[in-house]
Amino acid sequence: MKPLTLQPDDLDGMSMTDAIETIEDAYTAPGEAEMPEGEENGAIEPDALNGMAAAMIAASFINPILERAKIDPYSQEETVMVGNGLQGVLDLYPSISASPATIAWTGLVMALGVTAGPRYMKFKAMKADAVENSQTENRTPPNPEHDTGVEI
């Protein structure tokens, strides 16, 4: 229940029944200070749980990919990028009239886009480098016999 902002004088001229209705409305009407239902007592809604589960599953997929690509998932650049993405979602949250699950999924897709995009590019660049290096190595194969040293 949000704090009552109604003043006693606001009920002037009303009947008792109307006054009670007005107080009830003041308690239940949507406003800036209102919290989503269920959060007041620390309870988490099933929708929010679904969203959290989805995020955890996605994270379990992302980490092996990153490890395989040998990309540091905690580099400063990417942390900032992910942070900005999440901040954007949080800023938008009050103006979105959607269920917590939808918001969680949207956030997840955005986070994936933000994190996976640059990483994919980095991965491609690394792969290209690797291919180029291997080709160079093929062209000039090392021959230990030629490099044994100077004749004495």
Binding site: P3, L4, L6, Q7, P8, D9, L11, D12, M14, S15, M16, T17, A19, I20, I23, E24, Y27
Partner: protein, 208 residues
Amino acid sequence: MSRVAEIIGCVGPKGSGKSFMANALMLSERVHIMVDIAREFDEGRTVIYDPLELMETVAAYKGNKRLHICWRGSETLGPKTAFDWACQAASKFDGRCAIGANETETMIPKSKDFSLSAARVIRMGRHNQTPLIWTALQLTNVHPMLRGNADAMSFFKSGDFNAKDHIRKTAGPEALEAYENLQDYHYITYSPKTGWKKMPPIKLPKKR
């Protein structure tokens, strides 16, 4: 007594019996709201913390039963707003509903204006069936509107110079002499209608 005078002030130092008197006067009323800011008036009363519950309780009252409310809205809303809510609830009550305000210096500071609901009770209390009983430690700290609209004031034994001055001006030197010679828990009461009177200690009304 409260049937005759509708706005009564009780002035006296701590432990002089003014709160006891206010409590006794309130208990003699069938329906009342005691604005409790120091958690001391819950005995025999329904304790309420929320404005909605206060209004609903007052609205639900029917018949000849007693409705004694200990209103503790001050804990979340502040003392002054709690007093305003009590006034609003009492003035919407269909019948006589008294209001008790203990330690008005804390509840209604002199520097602040009254809300419309409170002003209505103070100015019109005697006409719209909402008697008000207030207490204060020193007369000089009481809001002028409360002091000016009191139908009767009871002064308990104290050395309050302001109270002495007030008694001398309003009730005369004889009343002042009686006031200066008061025993513990005795008091003098002054009303413009009935004059001044020396009174013995007050007793709590019997439980019905």
